[in-house]
């Protein structure tokens, strides 16, 4: 327990230090965040245009899809923010900076994950929150219960963990070749885009992939169904929504194991 606490404190210090460094240029930071916020808000608003000619998307009304997009965005934003070091790992490898990571008395993944913290990425998190508020307005509110709030919070964090695991798998690939970053981007950004719409619009195969292979649906679609008192896809029973953390942890543990394998390979070939 003590070890975890001191790890968390170290993490906090590493992050705070990078935040301090960026805040030296306050104006630039603000412009960066606002710029990113503007871009993401515009993308969100443009999605709402669909509902001018079309009243529903596969039975989902504008407010419901807006909420879905908001939850997906927020979950993704968390991963973008806290997984930044993993995201740019291909640069770290290319610059030869991974050796320095191995010289420190802390876990390599820990150090990588706590580097490259960029305040700019708060832009998308803000958009997620604003979009959620917009969706509540469009829905004229929803029936909240404490359980719904709990499910939403935990599912969003689970979704973030799954997104970060995708980034981690992409980073692990860099131990073999730095040419596959585009593929990781497709899964990462494409995943977010896919989650912004009800997964029931997709082919059955894709739905199963989003539920059972890369369980992103647990981070956005399932909790939104729960919030909106809607049925789950593929006839799944309602309690499946509570499995979000389990799905995330299972997926993450695979990613971490692959990462360890990658580090061992780096140590035997020197890259």
């Amino acid at each position: 327990m003590n070890a975890i606490m001191s790890d968390l404190r170290l993490y906090r210090r590493l992050i705070l230090m990078q935040v301090r460094a960026q805040l030296q240029y306050k104006i630039n930071v603000v412009i960066d965040i606002l710029g990113y916020l503007a871009v993401t808000i515009l993308e969100f608003l443009s999605m709402l245009i669909y509902f001018v000619p079309f009243p529903t998307m596969f039975g989902w009304r504008i407010g419901e899809v807006a909420m879905l997009a908001a939850v997906a965005s927020f979950s993704f934003g968390l991963a973008e923010l806290f997984g930044a070091g993993i995201d740019v790992f291909d640069e770290t490898i290319r610059r030869g900076d991974f050796d320095r990571v191995l010289l420190r008395p802390v876990g390599a993944l820990f150090l990588v994950a706590s580097s490259e913290f960029r305040l700019r990425r708060l832009g998308r998190l803000t958009e997620g929150i604003l979009a959620f508020i917009v969706s509540l307005v469009l829905l004229h509110g929803i029936k909240w219960t404490p359980l719904k709030l709990l499910v939403l919070s935990i599912s969003v964090m689970s979704g973030a963990l799954i997104f970060m695991s995708i980034l981690l798998m992409g980073a692990t690939m860099c131990f073999w070749t730095v040419q596959t970053t585009e593929l990781t981007n497709i899964l990462f950004y494409g995943g977010r885009e896919m989650l912004s719409y009800p997964i029931t619009i997709y082919h059955q195969v894709l739905q199963r992939i989003l539920l059972f292979v890369i369980p992103l649906a647990f981070g956005a679609y399932l909790p939104t169904c729960y919030l909106l008192d809607r049925a789950l896809p593929l006839g799944l029973p309602g309690w499946v929504v509570f499995l979000a953390p389990a799905a995330a942890l299972a997926f993450a543990s695979i990613a971490v194991r692959l990462w360890s394998f990658g580090v061992r390979r780096y140590q035997s070939t020197g890259s």
């Binding site: 001191s6 404190r9 170290l10 210090r13 590493l14 230090m17 301090r20 460094a21 960026q22 030296q24 030869g96 900076d97 050796d99 320095r100 191995l102 010289l103 420190r104 008395p105 802390v106 876990g107 061992r264 140590q267 035997s268 070939t269 020197g270």
Partner: protein
């Protein structure tokens, strides 16, 4: 167990796949990879005791960094065994990192955008150093390395010499028992180099920190290192003192003879107006002349120094005689270029395995 670094028959081979051009070539490389094996380090053994300061020299590509990487746990050896401070570097990487400090001449371990002091303070938490010990170390290192003038400046604005001092402080804050330095004086001016060397000498002598120093600067070696290891083509070729290197491979020594005016007048002169000594003994040649001195180079084996002096004294009236040892730079270069040690190494192998 008392030795800080023990490496036995270390080897490291890399498999380099040949890349074929084009799309078809790329696919073929996956299915049927043509691999060649490059031996970066071969059968290298070394033993470094606590408190020693050892130099590691060798041409580029000799395997020095590969060896250091195996000692720090960045790379896993393909053969042989290594233990550092009683630990296995790859299996106990984090434990070992706690007891080791590393300074790269070319790349800093400090955080680029922040003032130096912030990096130094953060390291306390990274290495879990108790507050008082960290404060005491910081105070001491600030004084020893004269950090106060730039301790609040962002690292990226520091000069090379300042950054090196910062890196040294950072490497020692957690009281490591072993310090690796990779080209620590590269690119520094004479004053800065002297300062760093003095610092290293102090921490080695006073705190007993074991130091392994990779360098291309021979003065570093001569002034600091009790022992030197020469590595070439992945093999350890030499392990001994600098003086011994000179004796064994020094090649030529130089005698500088200052002639009296009357002796100078009697000498023949060349077209350039400089005196020329003729009929020198075998193995002796005139290297240079500048009135009233003449430089004579002679092979160590050809004629003993005192005999040459006697020979000169018998023929000419001399004012003064001094000797000049070969520059260790030149000696080492000769060793690399002429593959002297490699030849010796191979010869010794042949003796052992006829």
């Amino acid at each position: 167990m008392d030795a800080t670094i023990k490496a036995e028959s270390l080897s490291k081979s890399f498999r380099i796949a040949r890349r074929r051009p084009g799309l078809i070539g790329g696919l073929r490389s996956v299915v049927d990879p043509q691999v060649r094996i490059v031996e970066a380090v071969h059968d290298l053994s070394l033993r470094i005791e606590r408190g020693e300061m050892i130099g590691l020299i060798g041409p580029n590509g000799a395997g020095k960094s590969t060896t250091i990487k195996m000692l720090t746990g960045i790379l896993v050896p393909t053969g042989g065994q290594v233990s550092v401070a009683g630990l296995n570097p790859t299996r106990q990487r984090r434990e070992l990192a706690q007891r080791v400090g590393v300074v790269f001449g070319q790349r800093s371990q400090l955080w680029w955008d922040l003032p130096l002091i912030d990096s130094l303070r953060l390291l306390r938490y990274l290495y879990r150093v108790p507050a008082e010990r960290h404060a005491a170390n910081l105070k001491r290192l600030r004084a020893l390395l004269a950090l106060d003038e730039f301790i609040d400046t962002p690292v990226r604005q520091l000069s090379l010499g300042q950054r090196m001092r910062g890196d040294l402080a950072a490497a020692l804050l957690h009281d490591p028992e072993l310090l690796y330095l990779d080209e620590p004086t590269i690119g520094l001016d004479v004053v800065a180099k002297a300062r760093i060397r003095e610092f290293l000498r102090a921490i080695n002598a006073e705190q007993g920190v074991t130091v392994l120093l990779t360098t291309h600067d021979m003065d570093d070696i001569e002034m600091l290192c009790q022992r030197t290891l020469i590595i070439d083509h992945g093999r350890k070729l030499y392990d001994g003192t600098v003086a011994d290197i000179r004796v064994r491979f020094g090649g030529e020594r130089t005698l500088i003879a200052e002639f009296s005016p009357s002796a100078l007048a009697a000498l023949p002169y060349d077209d350039g107006g400089q005196p020329l000594l003729t009929e020198l003994p075998a193995g002796v040649r005139q290297a240079r002349a500048e009135i009233p001195r003449i430089w004579l180079s002679f092979e160590r084996g050809a004629i003993p120094a005192h005999e040459l002096v006697a020979w000169l004294g018998a023929r000419y009236q001399l004012r003064d005689v001094t000797f000049q040892e070969p520059e260790i730079e030149d000696v080492i270069r000769r060793i690399y270029e002429e593959g002297l040690l490699l030849r010796e190494h191979e010869a010794s192998l042949m003796i052992n395995h006829p």
